[in-house]
C-alpha cells in the first residue's frame, strides 16, 4: 500500500523541481565558489548569491543578512554562542523558553562553562510563552533571549512580535528559531522584529545538509566556525553549492505557493482534528487550538502508549512521530535517551503520558483521502492497544463499579 506521510515535522521529501535545479551543480558546475578568478568558480558563485536572494525574499530580509549553514542545529548554535560571546560585555544572563528544541536547550551547559547564566521562560498549557514570566525573569544583565517561532511537536505559534518589542525596549538581543515556521507560514523578520532567525531547508521540501541564519544588519556575532573567508567571515568552509541552490529553489516555491499550501493544510488539518475528536474517546489535543501550524495535529490518548500506536500506524502504512519529531532516538546508547519530552512536560502533560503523544504533521501533497484513511484506521488500533492495557482494564472495572 502507498505510504501516508504525516511526519513533515521530522523532515520533508525534496521537491522534484528543487532536485532538478540542484543537478547541474554536482558534476557540470562543480567549481569552488571562492575560485572566482577561473571560469569554474563563476557560475557556482552566482548560484549561491541567487539562492541567498531567494531565502532573503522568503523572510523579508536583505541578501547580506543571510548566512548559510549546514543545519538548523548549526544555525541555532551559531546564534546562541555567537551572539552571546559577541555581546558579553553587555551581560551574562541568557533566557530560553521552556519549549526550545534540543539544539538550543543542550547548549546550556556549554554556555554555563563559558560563564553565562541560563534561565527558562515558562509557557502556558497551550505552549504559549508566558509574557509575565518573561517580564519577571528579564534582568539588567540579560544579554540574549531565545524563543522559537513555532513548535514542531505541539504546533503552537509563539507571539514573537510581542516578545521582540518587549525586548527591544530593553536592548536585549532576540534570537528566534524559525525551523518550524519559515517556509510553512508567512514570516517577515522585519515585521517580527527579531535580531536573528534560523531557517531550515529540509523542513520545506529543500535538501538536508543546508540551512541559514538570518542576522540583522548591524548585529555583532562572533564566528564559531573559523577558517576561510566564506559567508562574509561568519561561517568558514567551502559552500555546499548544490544544497544551497536547492534551498533557494525550495524557498522560491514556498513563497510562490504559500497561500495555496496554507489553505490546503488548514482544511486538511481541520478535517483530521474534527475526525479524531469525534471518533476517539479520552483524547487530548496538545498545543494551541488556533495559533498553530497549518496541517499540524498533535495529541495524546489515555491508556494508549505512543510508541506502540506509532508502530501500528506504521504497519498500516502511516508515518507519524511520537514525542519530539527530531528528538526521539531509539538508538541511544542506553535508556537515558528515553526521557519524557520536555515540551510536553512544560505544557503540563503528566509524565506518564508524555510517551504517548503523537504528532501528525501534514504536507503539501497530502490528500483528504489520506486523512480519511487515517481516521478509519485509528479507532481499531486504539481499541487493540487498550484491550492489551492493564491500566484500561482496571479503569473500566472502576468505572463499572461506579455505575
Amino acid at each position: 500500500m502507498k505510504r501516508i506521510y504525516f511526519d513533515h515535522s521530522s523532515t520533508t521529501p525534496v521537491d522534484n523541481r528543487v532536485l532538478d535545479a540542484m543537478l547541474p551543480y554536482f558534476v557540470e558546475h562543480f567549481g569552488n565558489p571562492s575560485s572566482i578568478l577561473i571560469e569554474e568558480g563563476g557560475r557556482p558563485h552566482k548560484a549561491v548569491e541567487e539562492a541567498r536572494e531567494k531565502i532573503a525574499r522568503l523572510i523579508g530580509a536583505q541578501m547580506n543578512e543571510i548566512i548559510f549553514t549546514s543545519s538548523a542545529t548549526e544555525s541555532n548554535n551559531m546564534a546562541i554562542k555567537g551572539l552571546a560571546l559577541a555581546n558579553k560585555d553587555k551581560g551574562k544572563h541568557i533566557l530560553f523558553s521552556d519549549i526550545e528544541h534540543f539544539s538550543i536547550m543542550n547548549q546550556a551547559d556549554f554556555m554555563r562553562n563559558l560563564g553565562f547564566e541560563i534561565d527558562f521562560i515558562q509557557v502556558d498549557n497551550y505552549g504559549v510563552v508566558d509574557m509575565d514570566d518573561l517580564a519577571k525573569k528579564v534582568r539588567d544583565d540579560t544579554v540574549l533571549v531565545s524563543v522559537m517561532h513555532a513548535n514542531l511537536e505541539i504546533g503552537t505559534i509563539e507571539p514573537i512580535k510581542e516578545i521582540a518589542s518587549f525586548l527591544k525596549e530593553r536592548e536585549i538581543v532576540f534570537h528566534s528559531d524559525g525551523t518550524g515556521s519559515c517556509g510553512r507560514i508567512p514570516v517577515d523578520v522585519k515585521d517580527l522584529g527579531v535580531d536573528s532567525m534560523t531557517i531550515s531547508s529540509h523542513q520545506f521540501y529543500g535538501p538536508k545538509g543546508v540551512a541559514a541564519l538570518y542576522l540583522k544588519n548591524g548585529m555583532r556575532l562572533s564566528s564559531i566556525m573559523h577558517g576561510g573567508f566564506q559567508e562574509m567571515g561568519y561561517r568558514a568552509g567551502t559552500e555546499n553549492v548544490p544544497g544551497i541552490v536547492g534551498f533557494g529553489e525550495a524557498a522560491r516555491f514556498a513563497m510562490e505557493e504559500l497561500d495555496e499550501r496554507v489553505h490546503r493544510l488548514v482544511t486538511l488539518g481541520k478535517k483530521l482534528w474534527n475526525g479524531m475528536e469525534s471518533t476517539i474517546d479520552f483524547l487530548h489535543f496538545t498545543g494551541h487550538p488556533k495559533k498553530r501550524l497549518p496541517g499540524h495535529v498533535s495529541f495524546w490518548i489515555e491508556f494508549v502508549e505512543g510508541e506502540s500506536l506509532l508502530l501500528w500506524l506504521n504497519l498500516n502504512s502511516i508515518a507519524c512521530a511520537s514525542g519530539s519529531a527530531c528528538a526521539s532516538n531509539m538508538m541511544a546508547a542506553d535508556e537515558t535517551g528515553l526521557k519524557a519530552s520536555h515540551v510536553l512536560t512544560a505544557v503540563g502533560v503528566p509524565p506518564e503520558i508524555c510517551h504517548g503523544s503523537i504528532t501528525f504533521s501534514l504536507g503539501k501533497d497530502n490528500t483528504p483521502e489520506e486523512v480519511e484513511h487515517v481516521l478509519y484506521v485509528m479507532p481499531g488500533i486504539v481499541k487493540r492497544l487498550r484491550d492489551m492495557s492493564p491500566l484500561y482494564a482496571s479503569f473500566r472495572q472502576q468505572e463499572g463499579k461506579r455505575k
Binding site: 502508549e305 510508541e307 531509539m330 538508538m331 546508547a333 542506553d334 528515553l338 492489551m388 492495557s389 492493564p390
Partner: protein, 125 residues
Amino acid sequence: MPGPYSDKVMDHFMNPRNMGEIEDADGVGEVGNPSCGDVMKLYLKIQDDKIVDVKFKTFGCGAAIASSSMTTELIKGKTIDEALKLSNQAVAEALGGLPPAKEHCSVLAEDALKAAIEDYRKKKG
C-alpha cells in the same frame, strides 16, 4: 521493514501470544509504573508447581509488549523453579536482541514474572 526491532520482536508485537487475563489466576504480578512508560501484568495458573497457563496485559512500547509475550511462551509448561531461572537476557535473546535503550523492557518482564510467583507463594501461604 528495516528498523530497530528484530523480526521476532515485531512478530510478538503484532501477534502477542497469551494476551489476556486469567479470571481465577493463582498468581498475579504487576510491575512498572506508568511514569516510566510501561506497565506489565502477568497472570499465572499453577498446578503441582507447574505453570499450566499464563496470560499478560501490557501498557508499553513494542519491546515491552514483545518481552511480555515472549516471557509467557518461555515459561508455559515450566515448573516454578525453572521459570525463576529465566533471566531478562534469555528473554532478550529469544527475541533476537533488543536495542540498548530498550533492554529495561526485558528486565520488566522478568520482574513481572517474579512478582507473580511471589504472589502465588504468598497466596498459597
